[in-house]
Amino acid sequence: MLELKNVSKLFNPGTPDEKVALMNANLTCNSGEFITVIGSNGAGKSTLMNIISGVMKPDIGEVRIEGNAIQQLPEYERSRWIGRVFQDPMAGTAPRMSIEENLAMAYKRGQKRGFSLGVTSAKRMLFHEQLQRLGIGLENRLSAKVGLLSGGERQALSLLMATFTKPQILLLDEHTAALDPARAELITRLTEEIVREMKLTTLMVTHNMEQAIRLGNRLIMMDKGKIILDIPHDRKKNLTVSQLLGEFQQISGQQLADDRIVLG
């Protein structure tokens, strides 16, 4: 279980540039929930992800995993519980290292790294098997440099790297936004499969309204640093995109302003 309690985060406090990224945000994610997150530009979605993963610390408030407050732990110590895929396909992999080396690093997620060999033949077999599930032929290119892969291939690899040690929480921040529609569809399908099979507690930010409704079993909407709408599974099932946009307008008093919005 993941909980955020009264979390606030300002950028450039006390200057003319002051930005409220999160304001007294509260969220409880139960184990196994797959939550889609939507909201206008600058609503604080990425900041929410960064506060959970420890890239940033909240100004005030608590982040709890299984009841333990972790908001003071640095990112590298939280990674044991948290897997991430970023929007930028370049961000989740090391380009000058091979596919198997990247996977070997993910294999050691959150563990102590010592002097044992990173890529062993036993691990190579495991990687081969896992890559096969992606269905894009990466299993035959284990020793290829990741920098040679296409954006979609890199994102698929990032997704595998984020999940295959079965972290408790998976954070996806617009992880299909930089891909062409066919590749985005592939990554979405893989995401759905992996999350379902591993029963990962997942938060997925998306700009695709149709996807936000279709995927997962809960939907939250953010605006100006707050979670303004929280739609449970039974209500989400029958929701339409126009209803969703209507609700946003009603609560926030303005239209959803999102320069990357995809209605579906």
Binding site: Y76, A91, T93
Partner: protein, 308 residues
């Protein structure tokens, strides 16, 4: 002539350890570490002083390694914990080491001529000398290769390649950075210790310009032998160091050049090696852009042609 080439090969092998150190920071960590000029002399100073005090040359060289590790760790800590810009952190350590090295020696230079050193039993004949050095350097290279393929080594490489990623996978990149810079300067100091033992003295200025020589070796090696994998890259660095020494030895035989021109020549090599790829890339990109623009211009014309 041949003698000077043999001498160049032997020197190249000793300096190869320094070049491997530079490779770790510049290429693997992507950290431009200038500590090298100081830590090279630190290695020489520690080894020379310990040898004059009667310690075994083995112990003296080990002492130099430890001294280099410590110097590198300081630079790493200044950068990661003190948040000092990497270049500046290296320069600060380099300057501080200049004083520290004189403190270690108690004077600006220490002679160990005619004392027993690691190299004195094998110095003659030159063929044997080269062979022993080659084996020793290859062992160091292989150990480094092995380390860079361990879990810790992978994290170190990823720190230079994509630090955001490896942090999200649970590595403390501050720690890996400090380990990398430390190891690098350890190797540099050993190289300095061996140069002091080979030349018979340590001098507070023996490290001046070392960073550029290290870079030149790395760049020459990569240009000739490539850097497709770590194993190839480290071999290339060793070869680059040897080639550099041979080039310098030959250059010195040309009447026009004097020994004092060496640093300028070295700087020129590095400048050319840095500028040429950039210019080539810009040129390539420009011609590609021109070609694509022409292609795109042609498309609507074809469309119209198809419809009419």
């Amino acid at each position: 002539m041949l003698d000077s080439i043999y001498g160049a090969i032997a020197l190249g092998l000793i300096y190869a350890l320094m070049a491997l150190g530079v490779y770790i920071t510049f290429r693997i960590l992507d950290f431009p570490d200038l500590t090298v000029d100081g830590s090279f002399a630190t290695g020489g100073a520690i080894a020379a002083v310990m040898i004059t005090q009667g310690y075994s040359p083995w112990l003296a060289t080990l002492g130099a390694f430890v001294g280099g590790l410590a110097a590198g760790a300081c630079t790493g800590l200044l950068h990661t914990k003190g948040k000092i810009n990497g270049l500046l952190a290296g320069i600060l350590m380099m300057i501080a080491l200049y004083s520290i090295n004189i403190r270690i020696m108690g004077k600006p230079n220490v002679s160990i001529v005619n004392m027993d050193t690691l190299l004195s039993p094998i110095a003659k004949p030159i063929g044997l000398f080269i062979l022993v050095l080659l084996v020793a350097v290859l062992i160091v290279k292989l150990l480094l290769d092995a380390f860079l393929h361990t879990d810790l080594g992978l994290a170190l490489r990823a720190t230079g390649d994509n630090s955001k990623m490896i942090r999200s996978l649970g590595s403390n990149t501050d720690t890996t950075t400090v380990i990398g810079i430390s190891l690098s300067n350890g190797l540099v100091a050993v190289s300095g210790a061996l140069i002091a033992q080979q030349g018979g003295f340590a001098d507070s200025t023996m490290g001046v310009g070392m960073i550029v020589i290290g870079l030149a070796s790395v760049i020459i090696g990569e240009a000739i032998f490539g850097a497709r994998t770590v194993i190839i890259a480290t071999l290339a660095v060793v070869m680059g160091s040897i080639v550099y020494r041979i080039v310098i030895a030959l250059a010195l035989r040309v009447e026009l050049l004097e020994a004092s021109d060496l640093k300028m020549i070295t700087a020129l090599i590095v400048i050319i090696a840095l500028v040429v790829p950039t210019v080539r890339r810009t040129y390539k990109q420009r011609s590609l852009a021109r070609k694509r623009s022409a292609e795109l211009l042609a498309i609507p014309a074809m469309d119209k042609g198809g419809k009419s």
